[in-house]
Symmetry: C2
Subunit: 244 residues, 2 copies
């Protein structure tokens, strides 16, 4: 026995053990979404633990989005949704947000968004077209000085195209970008003379291609757009660095 002198104590607390047991049952669909868990009292008896430990376990599951708790009613297996999953990612990016991450995100957009536009051209529905079209009319209507509002509209343009791709994995992967951009809008979209017209033209061209289900054109136009955006950003960054 090589582990003769291995630690005796179990590093896990009681509540963590209970948490894992219930989580496991949920993962294996033994407890389907929406189903009611036994009451605290019953669970205490079943696990043979105090209400303290049991409650802390269920607070853990609740915090992670796996269990809904309704006072006076009971505890239910939650319908674990994308937002729960993505919120953790956003928290991570939130904490690690720096100039390096912005560069990586810009790079990723250059790589991914043209392909996404192409896929969107193939899979778009009529509703997708309406959504995308609206962002363009909104952009045209947007006051030139409202930089924040403009950036949000542009952001929505890209998000709606991603949505039109119809690919859930792609949507989830890109979601952090669209959620983070409001925080770095001033870094990304430069407000230069004539920029608005150039951008609207790009958006319109991409929209037309997606409507015509012309994947290659959509891809190339989106490629030009994100490259253009990135250049504008780099120019702005250099100017900013010179000024200080």
């Amino acid at each position: 026995m090589s582990d003769l002198f291995s630690p005796i104590k179990d590093s896990q607390t009681l509540s963590q053990k209970i948490e894992r047991k219930i989580e496991q049952a949920i993962r294996e669909k033994k407890l389907p979404a929406g189903s009611k868990l036994p009451t605290e009292h019953e669970l205490c008896k079943m696990f043979a633990v105090s209400r303290t430990a049991l409650r802390e376990a269920l607070r853990r599951l609740n915090a992670r989005g796996l269990v809904d708790i309704r006072k006076g009613s009971g505890m239910y297996v939650a319908d674990y949704n994308v937002d729960d999953a993505i919120s953790s990612l956003l928290l991570y990016y939130d904490l690690k947000f720096d100039k390096n991450l912005i560069l990586h995100i810009n790079q990723a957009r250059l790589m991914f968004e043209p392909e996404i536009a192409k896929l969107a051209a193939q899979n778009r529905t009529e509703k997708n077209l309406i959504d995308i079209k609206k962002t363009i009319t909104d952009l045209i209507a947007c006051n030139l000085d409202h930089i924040q509002a403009e950036a949000d509209i542009i952001n929505r343009f890209h998000a709606k195209i991603t949505e039109a791709s119809g690919n859930s994995f792609v949507m989830i992967s890109m979601e952090p970008i669209f959620s983070l951009i409001p925080r770095m809008r001033n870094f990304i979209y430069a407000n230069v003379d004539g920029e608005r017209d150039i951008r609207v033209a790009y958006h319109q061209k991409i929209y037309d291609a997606i409507q015509a289900q012309d994947g290659e054109t959509a891809r190339n136009a989106m490629k030009e757009l994100v490259e253009h955006t990135n250049e504008t950003y780099i120019n702005k960054l250099q100017k900013y660095n010179l000024e200080r």
Copy 2:
């Protein structure tokens, strides 16, 4: 005031309020990673709540990976890492895993992996080359009948190339794929006569291009590889559907 008659009761529990307060402080870096929180007793006095409510709040933060708790020592702001963030995503994919998701993932790989290979060719370090090379020699050495082991090696090949891209956002986005594939390996990589040699040739070609920092060749070779893999998968799927 349109919310004159809105509910008076606060739907949030005490522990949730405390959770948010501390989370906010962590997000704003008022509590830097690694720093020690006040003791339970002190926090109880500061928030003017019972130990029960306070502990449940900290169990929530602990479950989410924001706070480390060491019995007998104290509570510390955790160094929130990628794994914490990704684990939530994995849980989501775990619960929503179905044939549709596999299709979306395959589609995403067709779109993204060629671009990733191109970027890897630009940014790869010597260590990246060693890691990628090893997966190829491992693949050659792998017994033809060990389907599981083979799939894991192939998976590592793709993961190491993604790592070589040097783009943190891309790595995080692709991570769920590499974590999920072990669950669907039998679906993805078909075991057909001569398949191994074809695959090794592709891997070698991609490796050479990455080593030579030839982005275009790496991109095109990876495109061929993932398309080949996808075709093999679809063939296998059709054959499987015919058999039943």
